[in-house]
Symmetry: C2
Subunit: 354 residues, 2 copies
């Protein structure tokens, strides 16, 4: 049995008893029941994930998975492919958006090369390269099925390293010029939707560029005919190496019963692959923000996830998920730190003493 199957086997149901205890406590806290909305729901979900009535958050790590995309040859992005490797140096120097936001919320950033086209040598970079970028999906499969499995397993391996080193909560971000094209293709394939409905402007395509991108995705789906119910097949044919690694992170978190934050569209595509590999995986995921990329809403709805942040973001890297970390912590602190009606001597509804 491979590492993927071993991980899938460890994924179980959320802990219903812990969720019930968390919900009961939320209703005793000094606020009208439900008045903290999604913060209450998040605390209950995380209680079920961790199997504790009152989970205390610990170390938070954003795993930024980087890879290149052969489909950039079709002119689907405004930025040259070189930017993927250049951005790795920026991440490692601490100058990118994800570094700033991770510092702000007290999270660590780990950068993983799972398939950048060039070989990058930089201190602090984790190299788990499965291949030097994908092939052009508009002409054939982006990668082989073995490579698809390998990038998922690379994500599992790195996530497990972090979890074993004490990470309590993970997020999976991405870097890869051209990867909204892959994410759109995955979403169209798995949701059975027309590419036009799930394709956006990425880093800023104009109308003509968007038309071209939709056409490229349509061609990729026609050429490859990915099987919607076989997530590894979809990943291999129209996916990306970083997207596979993101799916691996989500599966490893689920297996370890730790919450994992979904970032934007690319991270969501990874979550969709993870859910295709194990139907319980979304129970261990938390949404953070809703991206401008239109396919993201489709993904989150399919996964049953509710984003709290609506900031018209479309950067990736894990930037929305980093902000989400802080909201999850806030939710857990509400659960554990607020006084109950009885403790505070505050009256409940209609004058009953709570």
């Amino acid at each position: 049995m491979g590492r993927l199957e071993e991980t899938l086997k460890r994924i179980g149901e959320p802990d219903g008893a812990a969720m019930g205890q968390a919900r009961a406590r939320q209703d005793q806290l000094t606020k009208p029941p439900g008045a903290l909305g999604a913060l209450e729901e998040i605390s209950i979900k995380v209680a079920g994930i961790a199997g504790e009535a009152m989970p205390r958050p610990g170390r938070k790590v954003v795993l930024v998975m980087a890879a290149d995309h052969g489909v950039t040859a079709q002119g689907v992005s405004l930025y040259p492919r070189d930017v993927t490797a250049q951005m790795l140096h920026n991440f490692l120097a601490g100058g990118a958006a994800i570094n700033v936001l991770a510092r702000h919320v007290g999270a660590e950033v780990r950068v993983v090369d799972v398939g950048v086209a060039v070989d990058v040598e930089a201190e602090g970079l984790t190299v788990r390269k499965v291949r030097h970028g994908t092939a052009d999906m508009s002409e054939g499969p982006a990668m082989s099925r073995e490579e698809a499995r390998a990038c998922v397993e690379a994500g599992i391996a790195v996530a497990e390293e972090e979890l074993e080193a004490g990470a309590w909560m993970l997020a999976a971000g991405d870097m890869g010029i051209g990867n909204t094209t892959a994410a759109s293709a995955i979403t169209a394939a798995m949701a059975g939707m027309d590419p036009r409905e799930v394709t956006g402007r990425g880093t800023g395509l104009d109308d003509e560029g968007l038309e071209r991108k939709v056409g490229v995705i349509r061609r990729a789906l026609e050429v490859n005919r990915p099987h919607p119910s076989d997530a590894l097949d979809v990943l291999a044919k129209v996916g990306g190496l970083e997207i596979g690694a993101i799916a691996g992170v989500m599966l490893a978190a689920a297996a370890a019963r730790r919450p994992v934050l979904v970032d934007g569209f690319i991270s969501g595509a990874g979550a969709l692959i993870a859910a295709g590999l194990h139907p319980l995986a979304p129970h261990f995921m938390l949404a953070s923000h809703l991206s401008v990329e239109r396919g993201h809403a489709v993904i989150l709805e399919r996964l049953g996830l509710h984003p709290i942040i609506r900031a018209n973001m479309r950067l990736g890297e894990g930037t929305g998920a980093a902000l989400g970390f802080s909201l999850v912590e806030a939710a857990l602190k509400i659960l554990s730190e607020m006084a109950t009606f009885a403790e505070a001597g505050v009256s409940g509804p209609e004058g009953e003493q709570g």
Copy 2:
């Protein structure tokens, strides 16, 4: 000239030059222009507020304004009026939601009694009581015009104390059983809308309770006929003492050129009064979350404010605004801490070196 007029006189336009510089810098940072959406917009707005191209956030204070409402005699809330005073003790003991969330984001909480029905003695409480709760607005004016002015000036005074003591960013929260009724009445009056369109379930009214509440608001508006373009008249006739104080906080922040966060529906009603007193006041406000209370969206739209957090919250106290503080800080750190394309050696669109 009174304290209110002096404050209004100090409110000016945002600094367009600082905004232009902030926008130019955002476009040089290592991300596609606009990819951080609302975070970019917030940083530019705050640059204009503070008159600095790269503002650095400092001390953050949530002012929780508390008062009672005579209209509770009409059965508009599930909770007894005593809860307002009881919650003051909870705030001061650090056990309420606002305490937990303020600690989480590194903000201070200051609690102000501007009109609680009973006299509360508690260490740490600021007493600026204008009267012991409002009168029942369904039978006549909630307070006199002089009292309306006095509660706005109480808010100005407390905010100025905090600003003089080094607060860099403020938020205005509320506590007051019955205050969604007042906020709905203010919104209906100032927006010229039917009470039904701006009235929600508050702490959890059922359908019958909601009907009663709408009827009470309708009666209050008929009995009092507040003049929509005279904000002090609206505040006096159908407002609340804490709502007036919140308006004062917003005006003081605008006069001092400091950002002030709007919390939920009650805080929004205070913001509406502030905007009625000075049309430039909203330029110094930032929205945080969108409340479940339906009138909140009406208010934010009128003020031209865009909430980032959609968490189905409806608690007040400043809870949404506290979370908002962290997002404003994140936005300002993006502006000041991210590397530019040139600094990081990253290529711009179409291979141009940035």
